[in-house]
């Protein structure tokens, strides 16, 4: 085993060192140009994709070579248990990936920590760990795809897809990556046997193989539906084509602000509606959009956006440290550290990571606005301190950065829209009290847009709830309220928007397999802290869709029973497959056919 391990290391040592050198060179160049620790999520995802591709290609090459019949027999024809051969190969490969992928990342982190004043937190030390987990997972997925059954082993890639789809952050993301790695390792071990075409025998092994396969089939079916939708778009009658259907949510999403307000007012019974229509035509309509689904979480591996801002007058850059929960500064001219800056003049820890989000009218030139989960702070360049300027109630979270509405500022949380007077921002340094607090009429996760005009007595505000309506996570509607200057809110109109898509299309993610749909939701939300910004008002599934799903389940079960009649299967396994088909539906049926179809006939 040790010899095989060493031989495998020697076999790839030049490639490994060449990759590691090139990798280090590229990261070294990039880190001179930008702070790699402060890049947005897209950059980290792109780099992770390169690591995954590297592991994938390596696995395909290495195990693809071994898979050839003679080579495979030669490999396994050793006085060692098969699993020890597999471990030797995999361990060597992990070590190679460690050197090629993780080590350069670690070297860059060490350089940044020791040679610069840039922030290197615990989360940045976890990046090499994440890199090796991703690369190894991809390697194992490739190995499983090569060695597993030709009809189904490609499904291991779905576990790589989970890494992309998961909403987990920080340690949660690492756990997901570790879980995927362990699952893929188990799949590789199961596939690592003399008869590469044999199906898994034990129930546990069958579940380990079948579950990702069924999820992959479910995702493939979703892609088929998406393909149908593409054909629909090509055909030209899709709601997203040119002119959307009148009165529907697509039209509302695309409408010019004045048109949307006007359309909502058209169903109002208020006597002022006609006057407001005139005002809408003459006014500037302001817009507020929901921007965040999640806010920065402590120790998350990536960034929503770079957590830094510059004080140009002083020539300083301030970067948020998740470890210290404070900003740390360094001079842009020579990179020397200039200290630490916490919340308020007491230099306290920020309660959650503070994201720099620009400035506000009334701020001095180099002042910056910093946003935690429910507090806004002003970085005051003059005093080089942060001042608390706005605080949401403790249970609320910001859903957007503040936006200008005339002379006022609109602040959106998951519960309310706040209007703050511009004077409050510029005249003092105290905590700002909102002049108006307008409760949101619906769930923040469904909110697409807010359109408003100024009235002499307050505001006329339209809330449009259409987000995720295309996959039935809300029954779309528009609600208009008048907010008086004294804060009183009066309903003006509620317009129910047409669905635009047929019901079967909106619920396709569900009826294709309710169980897989739930599993997908559960898997992507595993180790994820609950986010109030994702709260939705999900309508109940219509009866017709329930019947459709039930019919597919019964059909799948019947077909499993029918197809299994000619196969060499125990009665209990036949029944288990039938039960799985009844529970899971089409993915179970197809997975049964892929795993057992075409062989083992009695």
């Amino acid at each position: 085993m040790w010899d095989l391990f060493k031989a495998e290391l020697q076999r790839f040592r030049f490639w490994c060192l060449a990759y590691a050198s090139l990798h280090l060179l590229i990261l070294g160049f990039l880190t001179r140009v930008v702070d790699l620790a402060q890049q947005p999520l897209l950059v980290y995802r792109s780099i992770a994709a390169v690591y995954a591709l590297s592991g994938l290609l390596f696995g395909l090459y290495q195990l693809g070579n071994y898979r050839r019949s003679n080579t495979w027999l030669q490999l396994l024809h050793r006085p060692l248990p098969h699993w020890r051969i597999a471990v030797a190969l995999a361990a060597a490969s992990v070590l190679l990936l460690l050197i090629a992928v993780a080590l350069p990342v670690l070297v860059i982190a060490i350089w940044q920590k020791t040679m610069t004043a840039r922030v290197v937190d615990l989360r940045h030390w976890l990046l090499p760990v994440s890199a090796i987990l991703i690369a190894t997972s991809a390697y194992l997925a490739a190995g499983y795809a090569v060695l597993g059954g030709r009809r189904f082993a490609i499904s291991g890639l779905i576990l790589l897809g989970l890494l992309l789809a998961s909403d987990a952050a920080g340690f949660g993301a690492l756990l997901i990556q570790l879980l995927a790695l362990l699952w893929l390792a188990a799949l590789l071990m199961l596939a690592f046997k003399p008869d590469l075409s044999a199906s898994p025998r034990s129930p546990l092994a069958l579940i380990a193989v079948a579950l990702p396969l069924q999820m992959a089939i479910y995702c493939a079916l979703v892609m088929v539906c998406f393909g149908v939708e593409l054909l629909w778009i090509m055909q030209g009658s899709h709601p997203n084509n040119s002119t959307p259907p009148a009165g529907g949510f697509v039209e509302a999403n695309k409408a010019a602000p004045a048109d949307l307000l006007s359309a909502g007012l058209a169903v109002s019974a208020r006597s002022e509606a006609a006057l407001w229509q005139e005002q809408i035509a003459l006014s500037e309509v302001f817009q507020v959009f929901r921007e965040f689904e999640r806010l920065p979480q402590r120790h998350s591996l990536s960034n929503l956006s770079p957590m830094e801002f510059d004080d140009n007058e002083r020539g300083e850059r301030w970067v948020f440290s998740h470890d210290r929960m404070r900003f740390r500064g360094y001079r842009l001219s020579d990179g020397k550290g200039v200290g630490e800056m916490g919340a308020t003049t007491a230099n306290a820890e920020f309660t959650t990571p503070a994201l720099p989000i620009g400035s506000l009218p009334g701020f001095a030139k180099d002042d910056a606005l910093l946003m935690t989960a429910n507090g806004l702070y002003q970085y005051q360049a003059r005093s080089r301190t942060t001042l608390p300027r706005f605080q949401l109630p403790s249970a609320e979270r910001f859903a957007a950065t503040p936006s200008l509405v005339g002379e006022s500022i609109a602040i959106l949380s998951d519960r309310a829209l706040y209007i703050v007077d511009g004077r409050s921002v510029s005249e003092n340094e105290d905590l700002i009290a909102p002049r108006l607090s307008i409760p949101l009429p619906g769930a923040i996760g469904n909110l697409t847009r807010i359109d408003l005009i100024e009235l002499v007595d307050g505001y006329l505000i339209s809330f449009t709830y259409t987000s995720t309506a295309h996959n039935a996570r809300v029954d779309p509607y528009q609600e208009i309220v008048q907010v008086h200057d004294d804060g009183a809110t009066e309903p003006v109109a509620r317009r129910v928007l047409a669905m635009d898509y047929p019901t079967w299309h909106r619920y396709e993610l569900w009826w294709l397999s309710p169980a897989m749909h739930s599993l997908y939701q559960g898997a992507t939300q595993l180790f994820v802290a609950d986010s109030p910004l994702l709260r939705i008002d999900k309508p109940a599934v219509p009866l017709s869709m329930r019947w459709l799903a039930a019919t597919l389940a019964v059909l799948s079960m019947s077909l499993v029973l029918l197809l299994s009649r000619g196969l060499v299967l125990t009665r209990s396994r036949r029944l288990a497959w039938a039960a799985a088909a009844a529970l899971i539906g089409l993915p179970a049926l197809i997975s049964f056919w892929l795993l057992h179809g075409g062989k083992e006939r009695g």
């Binding site: 005139e278 003459l282 009218p361 003059r382 002379e407 511009g422 004077r423 009235l455 002499v456």
Partner: protein, 692 residues
């Protein structure tokens, strides 16, 4: 024969009528004679709309204390460069190609030029290339404001540092001296806002003014820097200290502390006040005091109400001023005198019929005057060099006083188209903004355009206006709805019509800001008198607008020492009093839109920080719903001042068209393509005034 008799009539009138600005109480005969004088002038040629919209290519000239140089801006559009004129040989050289500075000042030693911008105070060393530096940042929540050039040190300035623009307590205010090497010295620190200071001749800070409650207290500082109150000026009264005491180290105060109108006072060592100067007519506030640049002695006082006037404060300056007026005629003069007969004076000459500013150097020793910096102006829109319009083609402002229906004597100004019969001409009441402001006697392109198109323009300083004394200012008692102030304007128009000025069937009302509000009130409540209104950036409910402004950062700009709300309360506009706001609301154009029967031209700016466009829009929407003849232009980028040159010209064009259609003045020249495009883009309601 006819021209000869006209000439004789002119000569006769010129002999009898005090020239514009000469101080004397107005009588009915004086006004009639002034009208006759205008009637006797040759009719003005039709002026091109854009010819009236020009900008000075030289501005803000300041004389070095030693008289050797004059620093000034050259202006092209919004770009400014800094230049220096040598007063000996007349040579000019550019110091800076571009600057953000808004104001120039000299240090006392004439070696440093100070440039003040909204962001910073910069000192430019004119003696050598090294040493120039920023003296202080001026922006940020903790602001610093330049109060004065240090009147005793050769190369320093005095600044006031405050925690915030509106702060009145809780944090300390500091009076700072900063010299050109950047050294700072705290002269005084106070928990109350410092509003003024004065040094003794020996350089000791001896007097201080600061907020005392809502008024201003004047204090003497003893050798231990302890404060002893000498005077308490009641709320709203002005109490400005001249920064240097006189030769006897007596404090000089400009303000209303000893009566109406504002005057220059001397406080003796016992605290008694003595009059130094007041308007001889007893009518106008002092606008400006010119002092000796070295010992601070007040030399000249000028007034800028309906009758501009300057007065020498000593025999010598009186003689020099007489000589200057002999050459220039009666003008609105801004004079920067020298400290001795050797040093030349810098004189800025302005007048209602004089486009722009003319700069002169006066040599006291030879009593000669010669013009300097005589660069031609720039056309505002094209920035091309153009010629000044001849004074003979422009109208002059005539002071007009009238008695309001409650007996109060009020002041205003009238402009008549030269050489035309005033009884047959349409009349426009042009209402000033503010309302705490007054009509200046200088050139105004908009009113000149109206007069050139055949309208008589009446500019009333209704009660509540500034410039006519404290009593005049507070006489409005907050009655800014359809009440006393509006009645003053109506009374003024009727008084003019009664004198045969204007055709009573062709009267319009126009104005910007508060003037726009008043115009809307005029056509809403006096439709028989006013046949058309032109309202630029008008608040449509004054009380609501003040409340709105109080929430915006603009409030910090408007209130000077007190908070905006406190200041309003002192002028009887208590925003916390529901009765006040309800009265203003009930009398507002917005609440009385259904009364409107006359055509209205509304122009507003999308970025107006003083009059929110939403008030104008709601008003316009109401009028449109009821089918009124309403034209609405909104420039989304324009602020309260109305936008750039294109916006100004578009406004003038639409006003011309509207007034021509409804009052029958001269027709407007069609707009060029750029102007037409702008109007098409910004005109939201077309009413009866359509762009071509």
């Amino acid at each position: 024969m006819k021209s000869t008799s006209t000439l004789l009539l002119c000569l006769l009138i010129a002999a009898l009528v005090p020239a514009e600005g000469r101080g004397a109480a107005q009588t009915s005969d004086e006004f009639s004679l002034a009208v006759a004088q205008e009637r006797a002038r040759a009719p003005a040629p039709r002026l091109d709309r854009s010819a009236l919209l020009v900008q000075d290519s030289v501005s803000d000239s300041v004389r070095a204390p030693d008289g050797s140089s004059i620093a000034y801006f050259r202006v092209v559009g919004s770009a400014r460069s800094v230049w220096l004129l040598d007063t000996d040989d007349g040579s000019q050289r550019r110091l800076l190609q571009s600057t953000e500075a808004q104001r120039l000042l000299w240090t006392r030693d004439s070696q440093w030029l100070l440039m003040e911008s909204p962001r910073q105070l910069f000192a430019l060393n004119l003696a050598q290339s090294a040493g120039s530096r920023m003296l202080s940042a001026l922006d940020g929540p903790s602001t610093r404001r330049l109060l004065a050039v240090d009147p005793v040190r050769p190369d320093a300035v005095v600044l006031l540092e405050g925690p915030r623009p509106d702060a009145v307590a809780a944090e300390r205010w500091r009076l700072l001296r900063i010299d050109v090497r950047g050294r700072e010295e705290v002269l005084h620190s106070s928990a109350r806002r410092i509003t003024g200071f004065a040094f003794e001749q020996n350089g000791r800070l001896a007097y201080l003014a600061r907020l005392d409650g809502e008024g201003i207290g004047v204090y003497r500082l003893d050798d231990e820097r302890a404060l002893h109150r000498l005077l308490r000026c009641k709320p709203l009264l002005r109490c400005s200290l001249l920064p240097l005491a006189n030769q006897q180290n007596e404090l000089l105060i400009l303000g209303d502390a000893a009566g109406d109108p504002s005057r220059l006072l001397r406080m003796d060592r016992n605290g008694a006040l003595h009059l130094v100067h007041v308007d001889p007519r007893g009518a106008a506030d002092i606008e400006e005091i010119a002092v000796d640049p070295f010992d601070g002695t007040p030399l000249l006082a000028s007034h800028a109400s309906t009758r501009p006037a300057s007065h020498g404060l000593g025999p010598s300056t009186r003689a020099h001023l007489a000589r200057i007026e002999q050459v220039l005629g009666a003008r609105s003069l801004s004079i920067q005198p020298g400290g001795s007969d050797q040093a030349a004076w810098l004189i800025a000459e302005r007048a209602s019929a004089l486009q722009g500013t003319r700069w002169h150097l006066y040599q006291p020793r030879s009593k000669t005057l010669h013009r300097i910096l005589a660069d031609p102006p720039l056309q505002q829109r094209s920035l091309r060099s153009t010629d000044w319009i001849a004074e003979s083609s422009l109208a002059r402002k005539i002071a007009f006083d009238w008695t309001a229906s409650d007996g109060m004597r009020l002041h205003g100004q009238v402009m008549l188209p030269p050489g035309r019969d005033p009884a047959a001409l349409p009349l426009i009441a042009q209402i000033h903004g503010g309302p705490w402001n007054h009509v200046r006697p200088g050139y105004e392109s908009h009113t000149q355009l109206l007069v050139n198109r055949g309208y008589i323009v009446f500019e009333p300083d209704f009660r509540g206006s500034t410039g006519h004394g404290f009593g005049y200012l507070i006489a409005a008692r907050g009655d800014y709805g359809n009440g006393r102030v509006q009645q003053d304007i109506v009374d003024g128009v009727r008084a003019l019509l009664a004198k045969g000025i204007g055709d009573s069937q062709r009267v319009g009302i126009s104005g910007a800001s508060f003037g726009g509000y008043s115009s809307l009130l005029g056509v809403s409540f006096e439709p028989d008198l006013f046949k058309v209104a032109v309202a630029l950036v008008p608040p449509t409910d004054f009380g609501w607008d003040l409340r709105w402004v109080s929430r915006s950062s603009e409030a910090l700009e408007l209130s000077k020492f007190l908070s905006f709300e406190d200041w309003l309360r002192l002028v009887d506009l208590d925003l916390a009093d529901p009765a006040t706001t309800l009265r203003l609301q009930q009398q507002s154009p917005l609440a009385n839109s259904q009364r409107l029967r006359r055509p209205v031209l509304l122009i507003a700016g999308g970025k107006d920080c003083r009059v929110p466009v939403r008030g104008v829009i709601e008003y316009a929407a109401k009028l449109k719903r009821q089918g009124a003849d309403i034209t609405l232009l909104i420039d989304p980028e324009a602020g309260h001042s109305g936008g750039g040159p294109l916006a100004r010209e578009a406004r003038n064009y639409l006003v011309e068209r509207s007034l021509h259609r409804h009052l029958g003045g001269d027709a407007a020249d069609p707009p060029d393509a750029q102007l037409a495009s702008y109007i098409e883009r910004t005109l939201r309601l077309r009413g009866s005034v359509r762009s071509d």
